[in-house]
Structures are given as structure tokens and as C-alpha cells.
């Protein structure tokens, strides 16, 4: 894919006290592409996206959005710069309704500060319909929705509020087969718009194969491999996902137990 990256990250370092969670990570994010971020448990994927989302501050390194250096002091800053994050835990409130969650922190109100509930109900319904689910009752509590529906709600919310980069942290884990495919379909639909870049974190090689255009592999806080879909071999992806170890070696290890 050609063109300028929407967002560029250079040499991000994140230390938690004596522990270095990220040791100099760089990557480029292009609009209209799905960028798979892969790596073992504890590799630092969530830490990386939390920095991109303004939850953590980087210890070192720089983020560029459309070529300009930016610093995110809060999630609000990141949202304003077009970074929409769907966290592993989705940042949804279970006891609150679909609409109230959809607009949490960015409610629509009239001049007297009173919420325009009808308008908000309608928007929440329409936006979710656009990417795949027809939700009849926007007053339903999120706690009663299925995992896939919640995922869709969180994605629809991020897009509606102007996300140019959509970050999905393991959106398919903890879902049943059918719902996993539903989420992948949603990702494809968003990708087709062409203007939104998606960072897709997953442990599932097949899922990444199905939707990703570009890959970055993390291990122990470092990038151990990166490339486009065409430049990476199947076996290569597997090897990198396991943190650089040869699958054959792992299998041998398993045998010997």
C-alpha cells in the first residue's frame, strides 16, 4: 500500500519502575489497512496500545500523527487526535444502557444541559446497524448483551466519534466461533471504508491471516519482525508469533515432558 502513514511511532520505551515493558518499539499505521500486532502473553502489546490511547505516558520515544509529533496527556487527547481504542475489557459499563454507554463522556445535550435521549437512542441504533447488528432496544443494559455485541458496540462507538485509528485489543478472544467471525466481518467492513486504520491485536494466527495487511511481532518488549502480508511466509508468521522460537523446537520440548 502506498501513501503516508496516518500514525508513526518511533522508539517507544515504557518502564514500570525497574521493569521495562517496552524497549524501543517503532511502527507505522496506514489508513485503510489492518495492522496485526502479534506476540506472546506479556510481550507488551497492551502496554503499547495504552500509550497510543493516552492511558500511559511513554518513558521515551515519540508518536507522530499525520507527520506531526504529538503528546497525549489523557485519553481525551488521544481521542481528539483520532485514536479510538477498544480495550480488552471494552471500557463498557455493564449496568448502563446501550445508549448511555455509546455516548459515555460525550453525551449530546441541549442548551440547558438536558440529554437528547431520543436522538442518542437513534444514533446508537443506526451506527451499530451500519457495522452489523440490529439492536432493537437501546435501553437494554450492556450486562445482558453477548460478547460479540459488546465488541460491536465498542467499535461502533469509536468510529462514530471520529476514530481514524481503531485499536482492537484481542477482540476475538473469549468469543464463540460464530461471534469471532462476526467481529472479523466487522473489521473487514470498517477496513473497506478506506479511511480508517485498524490495529488488530490477537493470538490467533488464522484470524490475523484472514484480515491483516501488515504485521508487527513483539517479544519481550521489542519488535522481532514486521512486514506486509505478501512479504511474510506462513511458517515465518508462526515462528514469530511464538516469540521467535522454532515451532519444531517447541514441539520437541512438549514431547520430552
Amino acid at each position: 500500500m502506498a501513501g503516508q502513514p496516518y500514525m508513526r511511532v518511533e522508539n517507544l520505551v515504557k518502564r514500570f519502575g525497574p521493569f521495562t515493558a517496552l524497549a524501543g518499539v517503532s511502527l507505522e499505521i496506514f489508513p485503510g489497512e489492518v495492522h496485526a500486532l502479534l506476540g506472546d502473553n506479556g510481550a507488551g502489546k497492551s502496554t503499547l496500545i495504552k500509550i497510543l490511547a493516552g492511558v500511559h505516558r511513554a518513558s521515551e520515544g515519540q508518536i507522530y500523527v499525520e507527520g506531526r509529533p504529538v503528546t497525549f496527556r489523557s485519553p481525551r487527547d488521544a481521542t481528539a487526535a483520532g485514536i479510538g481504542t477498544v480495550y480488552q475489557d471494552l471500557a463498557l459499563n455493564q449496568l448502563m444502557s446501550v445508549t448511555r454507554n455509546f455516548f459515555m463522556g460525550r453525551e449530546i445535550k441541549n442548551r440547558l444541559g438536558v440529554l437528547k435521549m431520543d436522538e442518542m437512542d437513534r444514533i446508537a441504533h443506526d451506527e451499530m446497524l451500519k457495522i452489523g447488528i440490529d439492536f432493537s432496544d437501546p435501553t437494554q443494559a450492556v450486562g445482558t448483551m453477548s460478547g460479540g455485541q459488546r465488541q460491536t458496540l465498542a467499535i461502533a462507538r469509536a468510529i462514530y466519534f471520529g476514530a481514524k485509528v481503531l485499536i482492537l485489543d484481542e477482540p476475538t478472544s473469549a468469543l464463540g466461533q460464530k461471534q469471532q467471525m462476526g467481529v472479523l466481518k466487522t473489521i473487514k467492513k470498517v477496513r473497506k471504508r478506506g479511511d480508517i486504520a485498524i490495529i488488530f491485536i490477537t493470538h490467533n494466527e488464522i484470524h490475523s491471516r484472514l484480515v491483516a495487511d501488515r504485521y508487527t511481532f513483539l517479544a519481550l518488549g521489542k519488535v522481532i519482525g514486521a512486514g506486509t502480508r505478501d512479504s511474510l511466509e506462513h511458517g515465518e508468521i508462526r515462528r514469530l508469533m511464538a516469540g521467535g522460537a522454532e515451532m519444531a523446537d517447541l514441539e520437541q520440548e512438549l514431547e520430552s515432558v
Binding site: 459499563n93 449496568l95 448511555r100 459515555m104 460525550r106 445535550k109 444541559g113 445482558t144
Partner: protein, 372 residues
């Protein structure tokens, strides 16, 4: 091929308004209230709801309602305030002492409004301090406000003894006659209600004259506070933020909700409610006492829970709190209308209803969160 196209919307059963009403979270509190009203009516031979009975009942219901509204909003945001009762004592002492001994720093005599304004400034500051300690330290508000429960009660008693020599002030002039403000806090309101009652042939004393002339002013304050709280909670952005803060703080923060400001604001709101409570009391009776407001924080929390507020935050309704306040207020007063009853049954009742409410609320929470 015979594929049935089913969409998500087909799976939701359409409910009529009765079914929807029955599923409302306030329904339990409403039923208990209805039972109490009927039982009290018969047990007191109707005396609980004659002209004076209604006035006295509303007076205590409004008292409970004012502080329970503050406690409930704070609980919905996920925090407790155990300092409400001591704050009432502190505010009452502060106002009465200024009225008797003048404004601090030799600023001269205190008008009722000045005494109230200076006191409110102090209590709001205290609420702000409590809120800041809670959000900055990350400690449980239970323990922080427990500290303030002791601190404020002690400060009240010490100040009384230092300045006033006694922990009581009585015999203040009746400011209601000279000050519009004192009348607004401690006078009578909604006189038209009792005028109409008289005009319709009721509300008579033994001589056949009009008996009761109006409700205590705190009724108006309760209506105002509950009305504003209801509007905020169910219809405004701030309301959405309060729910979001109490449900999952981190989720709310990730979406840009200023959770710390919400919490600090609500600690100031409970302090405000306690101050209104105290002002109504001081200007109604023209007295003050270091022991005022004792245990009121626990009653406020109990009423909030009876009204359907979740202990864990994120859920609750002002309407439920109104039902809770009516229920607890009526039972607290029942001893005056049913002479043969032992007043301590009040606590037995509150304890029982409280436990029942906690179980009911937990069921509602499980229903909403899918049983986790």
C-alpha cells in the same frame, strides 16, 4: 434452501406498560411503602394522616429525604459518606453560634443569611477536602469519612465548650419573624394545601377553627433537592457521568469522564444536603445541640439502599429514594400515632427492610449483569 432470516430484534419480547412497570427497580420500595401507609392508617385509627399527622410525618420524611438524596447520588458514584451526621451537628453548631456570638473575626452581628452562608462555605470546603482525600489517596471512602465522622463531632463539641461553655444553645430569638431567609428555612410552606383542606370542611381543631396552617419549610427543600437530583441523574450529562463513575471507574475514565471531579462534587453535595438539614432545624426550633444529626449518616445510607441504590455503585434512582424516605419516615414516627407500640420497633423494622432490600437489589444487579 430454507434459511430463516432472524434478526436480533426478533428475540426481544415486546412488553406492555404493566410488565415494564413491574420490572422497574423501584417497584420493591414502592410496595413496601404502600403496605406501610395502609398498615399505619389502620393501626393509628387514621390519626397518622389527619391534618397534624400529615404535617408531622412529612416533616420527618423530608428530613430523611434531604440527606438520603445526597447519600444515594454519592453511592451511585461508588462512594460512601459517613460524615453526614457529624456534618449536620457541625453546621447547626456553626449557625447557632454565629447567631448568638456574632460572626468570626469580629465581623459583627450575624444575620441568619450570613450565618448560613459562612457555614455553607465551611461545609462545602470540608466536602471538597474529603473528596480530594478520597480520590487522591485511593483509600476507601468508608474509612476516610469515618475519620471525619469523629473529627467533626469532636470539633463541634470542643467549639461549643470553648466559645459557648455549654454544648447547647437554646432561646435564640425567633428569626422567622424578622428575616425572610430564616422563614424560608424554618417557616411554613404550602399553606394553600391546608387552607383548601379547611375550606373543604376538614383540618378543624376542637374549637372548630382552622387547625394546621402549613407544612414545615423543609418539605419544599426536599422537593427541590429531590427534583434537581432526579433531573440531573436521569436527564443530564452529569447524571450519565455519575452512573459511569460508580459502575466501572476505569471504563468511565477511558471514555473521558472526569471521575475525580464527579466524586469530589458529590462529596460537596452531601455536605450541602447536611447543611440544609441543619439550617431547617436551627431556624425551625431556634436551638442547637452538639448531638444533632447523630446516626443520620447510617439512616441516609439505609434509605438509599431501601430505595434500590446498589452498595457497589452504578445503579439507583431518586424515585426509589423518595419511596424509601417515606417508608422509613412513617415508621420512625409511628410511635406517636400508635401509643401501644414500643418505639424501638423502628430499628427492628429498618434493619429487616434493609436486609430484604439488599437481597432484592442484588437480584436486580444480577439480572442486569447476567448473573456475575
Amino acid at each position: 434452501m430454507d434459511v430463516i432470516e432472524r434478526s436480533e430484534s426478533d428475540r426481544l419480547r415486546q412488553e406492555n406498560w404493566i410488565q415494564r412497570t413491574v420490572r422497574r427497580p423501584e417497584i420493591g420500595a414502592f410496595m413496601v411503602m404502600a403496605v406501610i401507609i395502609v398498615a399505619l392508617y389502620f393501626a393509628s385509627d387514621g390519626r397518622a394522616f389527619n391534618a397534624l399527622g400529615v404535617k408531622n410525618n412529612v416533616a420527618i420524611i423530608a428530613q430523611f429525604g434531604i440527606i438520603a438524596t445526597g447519600a444515594a447520588l454519592l453511592m451511585i458514584a461508588g462512594e460512601f459518606d459517613l460524615s453526614i451526621g457529624s456534618m449536620i451537628g457541625f453546621a447547626g453548631m456553626s449557625m447557632a453560634m454565629m447567631l448568638k456570638w456574632g460572626l468570626p473575626f469580629g465581623l459583627g452581628e450575624a444575620t441568619p443569611f450570613a450565618a448560613f452562608a459562612v457555614t455553607l462555605a465551611m461545609t462545602l470546603t470540608l466536602g471538597w477536602i474529603i473528596g480530594n482525600i478520597v480520590v487522591r489517596s485511593g483509600l476507601s471512602s468508608f474509612i476516610v469519612t469515618l475519620g471525619f465522622l469523629f473529627f467533626l463531632r469532636g470539633t463541634t463539641e470542643v467549639s461549643f465548650r470553648l466559645i459557648n461553655k455549654s454544648t447547647q444553645i437554646s432561646g435564640l430569638p425567633d428569626y422567622k419573624e424578622t428575616s425572610w431567609f430564616a422563614d424560608l428555612m424554618g417557616g411554613e410552606v404550602f399553606g394553600w394545601f391546608y387552607d383548601a383542606w379547611f375550606w373543604l370542611g376538614g383540618n378543624l381543631n376542637r374549637k372548630g377553627e382552622q387547625w394546621v396552617t402549613g407544612f414545615d419549610a423543609r418539605f419544599l427543600w426536599w422537593i427541590l433537592i429531590a427534583g434537581v437530583a432526579w433531573l440531573i441523574l436521569s436527564r443530564t450529562q452529569l447524571g450519565n457521568w455519575i452512573f459511569a463513575t460508580g459502575d466501572d471507574k476505569e471504563a468511565a475514565r477511558a471514555n473521558g469522564v472526569p471521575v475525580n471531579k464527579v466524586k469530589i462534587g458529590l462529596f460537596m453535595f452531601t455536605a450541602f444536603c447536611a447543611t440544609i438539614f441543619a439550617a431547617c432545624q436551627v431556624f425551625d426550633t431556634n436551638t442547637s445541640d452538639a448531638a444533632k444529626g447523630n446516626l443520620k449518616e447510617l439512616e441516609a445510607i439505609a434509605i438509599a439502599v431501601v430505595g434500590g441504590t446498589l452498595m457497589t455503585g452504578g445503579f439507583g434512582s431518586v424515585l426509589g429514594v423518595i419511596f424509601g424516605a417515606v417508608t422509613v419516615g412513617l415508621v420512625a414516627n409511628a410511635v406517636f400515632f400508635i401509643p401501644w407500640i414500643d418505639g424501638s420497633w423502628f430499628r427492628v423494622f429498618v434493619g429487616t427492610v434493609l436486609l430484604a432490600a439488599v437481597f432484592a437489589n442484588e437480584r436486580i444487579r444480577k439480572r442486569i449483569t447476567g448473573g456475575i
